[in-house]
């Protein structure tokens, strides 16, 4: 008892310091999760909640649009994360050991889109791509090309959204990679060079393995970010054409705020939560092991 008391006294300051954040965490993260799980088992109407068991989940699994939203979300996650990681490794490994001013210039150029709000970016792309009065269709018309509606074609709409999101997000990853690569001890490169290793070999066998924690981190934050992809969809396509670009988050939003099906929307939220957990746990475990 005495020992316990001592430990408590020893650590009380620390606990008090984390208390505000912990309270916020409980109120704004844990409570909504519990409330979301509860709501997913209810049918919510104006000031009336009826317990319906797993009915909302049954409704979901009978809706082809929900499956379409899962499929699209998976496509977005896979391609955007692969593109982001691949391209940022390429850019960072090409420039990290160059002149500091040059590195700053590259970093700045790629980072500018990250600072611009996603809403603004989406609106600019919307203006460019609008088939009736957008800049690209105007240019195509002036040059007598046929007008292709990239956002109205179900085969091109996903690649366009992938590209727009990737282009907006990649700066963050480049910054992180350059910082990590600059931190890799120089003597390793020198030793490899002395042994006659080519630059490609140095990158693949020294640089990339040594920045693995950064890769894992970038992968996790991007997976989580892309799972929640919403703004681009809302502003560029509205989920169209004919639900071809609907994502889980957009589907959740439609149910919650347009159809007023809070129960169904909560069920989507719970499923998204589970998917995110499943994806994150092994990666987080790997990251901690690494450390």
């Amino acid at each position: 008892m005495k020992l316990r008391n001592y430990h408590w006294k020893e650590n009380v300051t620390g606990y008090l310091f984390i208390l505000p954040q912990f309270l916020m965490f409980l109120i704004f993260i844990v409570y909504p999760i519990i409330e979301g799980i509860r709501l997913s088992l209810y049918k919510v109407q104006f000031n009336q909640e009826t317990f319906v068991g797993f009915d909302n989940y049954v409704t979901l699994f009978h809706d082809p649009v929900f499956f379409k939203s899962i499929y699209n979300t998976v496509i977005f996650v896979v391609f955007i994360v692969l593109l982001t990681v691949g391209f940022s490794i390429f850019v960072a490994s090409s420039v990290f050991d160059k002149n500091a001013k040059y590195v700053s210039f590259i970093r700045g150029s790629y980072y500018i889109p990250v600072m611009v709000s996603m809403v603004v970016m989406s609106m600019v792309w919307g203006f460019l791509l609008n088939p009736a009065n957008g800049l690209i269709s105007y240019a195509a018309r002036e040059m007598d090309f046929s007008i292709v509606n990239l956002l109205g074609n179900k085969h091109t709409v996903l690649p366009v959204i992938i590209f727009v999101t990737f282009a907006t997000n990649v700066g963050q990853a480049i910054i992180l990679y350059i910082a990590a690569m600059i931190g890799v001890p120089k003597d390793l490169f020198e030793a490899a060079e002395v042994d006659g290793a080519s630059r490609v070999r140095i990158i693949f066998q020294i640089l990339i393995p040594l920045v693995k924690p950064t890769t894992i981190y970038i992968t996790i934050i991007n997976i989580i970010a892309v799972l929640k992809i919403f703004v681009v969809i809302q502003l560029l396509t509205g989920g169209g054409p004919n639900n071809a670009s609907v994502t889980m988050m957009y589907y959740l939003y439609n149910n919650a705020f347009k159809y007023n099906q809070l129960g169904v929307a909560s069920a989507v939220g719970v499923i998204m939560f589970l998917i995110t957990m499943l994806l994150s746990i092994p990666q987080l475990r790997a990251m901690f092991k690494e450390k």
Binding site: P131, R141, N149, G152, G240, P241, N242, K258
Partner: protein, 467 residues
């Protein structure tokens, strides 16, 4: 050492407490101001109302006023009301909500228990909230004088079950607008109607107009606006589906568009789209885009209503948009008689659970819906009051033209429950049709199946249908 630790521990505790106090302090303040107060200082109690509206007309009486905006009318009305109201000291917070965000804002606030006290909007978009039991009946503020001055067809529009839920203020008939200059340039002079009339074309005329415009218009301009990005402006799309005589709803409020005439209408839409008689990319174009293109003279024919029409004219006068000869036409139909629909606009009162606020909200609704000066503002749309229409008929000759159209009105919502969700069903099917993923017949069939499922589900939980 221990002292030092105690000091830092106390500091940390204080920080936490001040944070929490900060959070709850704000809540306390809110609670005070919303309770209406029961001060015994002899002054009138303070009551704060929240009024939301979607953009209707600008200015108190006219868009040409200085600093005219969408909330000008209600700010003025609130000021006038609070000066003469003797029961409470009333403050009205006016907030303009974008039409496409209405349902999101309302759903979030209804579920959070903070609905606005008053919402001023087209009735068709608000019917769902009646079915959900979120609105107060307004029968107690409707008197005989109002019943006499406002035609029964408008009262029918705002009556659900046997109660009135909206106080009719004005109405907004939907028509087409056309650019007479473009028509004349294309040699279509004979199809241009009078500036103060709503021109009626037959289907044959209309097909010929589209074909001629397509041939004669300069590159980058298109004969007609067509859009299906979202549910905005979908009433015109619904009207087009009736062009060949389809009735749309049966007597039980089920969709019956999947018949020969409904499919024919969908095929017509697909045909004019595929043949380039409309703007390209209808599946990705919104009604806002179409309206902007019409104002920029990239479209010869587009959709409109009196508010949009007057705003366009005001923008042209103010030099904000290129000037051209803008005129009105009816949506044609194969029967020859035009397709007409109208949005009745009026205020509704939400159930907030606060009897005082509800009463004051009702009093305010009654005030601005009956005050002889304020109701004149309904001239910005089309007045529902015969007295106002009569007063302005010489100044606004179009009032008579709209009145003549009234016999062709169809009720586009069918007063069905679940209308908000039903609106989300149509545009994906139209998109599928335009991009060739579905045939017109398939799209119509799927719309009917999905739409009827939505209506059925909404009927089961409607407070009106449960009675």
């Amino acid at each position: 050492m221990l002292k030092k630790r105690m000091l830092s521990a106390t500091t940390a505790l204080l920080v936490v407490m001040s944070l929490l106090a900060g959070c709850s302090g704000g809540g306390q303040k809110d609670a005070d101001s919303s309770s209406g107060g029961d001060s015994s200082s002899g002054k009138k109690d303070k009551v704060e109302l929240n009024l939301w509206l979607t953009p209707q007309w600008k200015g108190v009486m006219d868009a040409s006023e200085q600093n005219a905006d969408y909330d000008s009318f209600f700010k003025y009305a609130a000021d006038k009301f609070s000066k003469q109201y003797d029961k409470h000291d009333v403050k009205v917070n006016v907030q303009v909500i974008a039409g496409d965000q209405r349902d999101e804002m309302l759903n979030v606030n209804l579920n959070g228990g903070t609905p606005p006290d008053i919402f001023f909007e087209s009735v068709f978009a608000m019917g769902d909230y009646v079915h959900r039991g979120a609105l107060e009946p307004l029968d107690d503020i409707v008197d005989d004088a109002a019943k006499k001055d406002i035609d029964q067809k408008y009262w029918d529009n705002v009556t659900f079950g046997d109660k009135v839920y909206f106080y009719p203020f004005a109405h907004n008939p939907g028509t087409l607008a056309y650019n007479a200059d473009m028509f004349k340039a294309a040699g279509l002079d004979s199809y241009v109607g009078d500036a103060n009339a709503i021109q009626t074309w037959t289907m044959d005329d209309y097909d010929k107009i589209l074909k001629t415009l397509k041939e004669k218009l300069p590159k980058g301009s298109y004969p007609m606006g067509l859009y299906a990005l979202n549910n905005q402006g979908d009433t015109w799309n619904l009207a087009y589906l009736r062009m060949f005589g389809n009735k749309f709803f049966d007597d039980q409020g089920n969709i019956i568009v999947d018949d020969e005439n409904g499919i024919k209408a969908a095929e017509w839409l697909k045909k004019i789209y595929s043949e380039g008689y409309t703007n390209p990319g209808a599946e990705s174009v919104s009604s806002n885009d179409a309206n902007a293109m019409f104002q920029n003279q990239q479209l010869a024919i587009s959709f409109t209503n009196p508010v949009l029409f007057n705003n366009s004219k005001a923008d042209m006068e103010a030099g904000k948009a290129p000037k051209f000869d803008i005129r009105l036409a009816n949506i044609p139909s194969s029967s020859g008689s035009p397709l007409s629909f109208t949005y009745v606009i009026g205020a509704s009162v939400f159930k907030t659970g606060d009897a005082v606020k509800t009463q004051v909200a009702k009093d305010f609704v009654k005030f601005f819906s009956t005050d002889p000066e304020l109701v004149k503002s309904s001239k910005n749309s089309i007045p529902v009051r015969s007295s106002v229409a009569a007063e302005f008929k010489d100044k606004y000759p179009l009032f008579a033209a709209y009145d003549a159209n009234a016999s062709n009105l169809f009720n586009f919502t069918g007063n069905v429950p679940g209308y908000s969700e039903l609106r989300q069903v149509l545009y994906p099917e139209l998109q599928a049709m335009y991009i060739g993923e579905k045939t017109p017949a398939q799209a119509i069939k799927d719309y009917q199946t999905k739409g009827n499922a939505v209506i059925q589900k909404a009927k089961e939980s409607s407070v009106i249908f449960k009675k």
